[in-house]
Amino acid sequence: MVSEGPYTHQASDSAYQFIRAALAAGHEIFRIFFYHDGVNNGTRLTTPPQDDRHIVNRWSELATEHDLDLVLCVAAAQRRGIVDPDEAKRNGKDGDNIAPGFRISGLGQLIEAGIESDRLLVFGD
């Protein structure tokens, strides 16, 4: 679970580095669940300075490469303005901003991940 937004807190970076190390060691990542401000990891509208890492794109690329399940909590995303095309339609928004490789779903996905996985780690503030 990732609980903080990109750049604001190191949590997104620590989670990314931990997951890369876990994958390198041959472990399976069942799911990455983004909660609280963590949902801000999943907007494709970011443009960080060119000499800095692109945290959002880095997640999208990692997901493609390793077929990861990146889930943004719907309740947290609604409060913070992260929407996919379905959510945009349901809430009467004129556009969406979700980044490739992410999906929006409910908190049950976090509980399910806790039940199905051997270990659950939280990176946050």
Partner: protein
Amino acid sequence: MSRAKKFMYINRHAPCGTVYAVEGLEVVLIGAAFEQDVCMAFIGDGVFQLQQDQDTADTGMKNFSPAYRALGDYEVNRLYVERESLQERGLTEEDLMPLTWEDEDEDWAEKSSIYIVDQAQLSDLMDEQDIILNF
């Protein structure tokens, strides 16, 4: 899935100032539907979440404290409050909301959900869990 896992939700943030308390409570209420073995712990400023008579009207914020009263209905009826954290803040059990649940096995007798525990007891409880989540 062989058996129910033991989940402990640890609350360490004061209410109102940040969103962690309310978004943590949302996880507990959703999680209750999964029929796992669930308890909560309140440590540090988390004990302030259970303070009686919270009234957010003048701040314009939503008052979510009544939602704690719903926990009993969701069979979340073990709320462990760290004694040392209460003492450091000058609080006693009387300052906390009287949260209760009804015991089906004893003719729906109303029982308190709040347990004041010391650090050693809390350590033991944490040791029994499968999953610990921090809000």
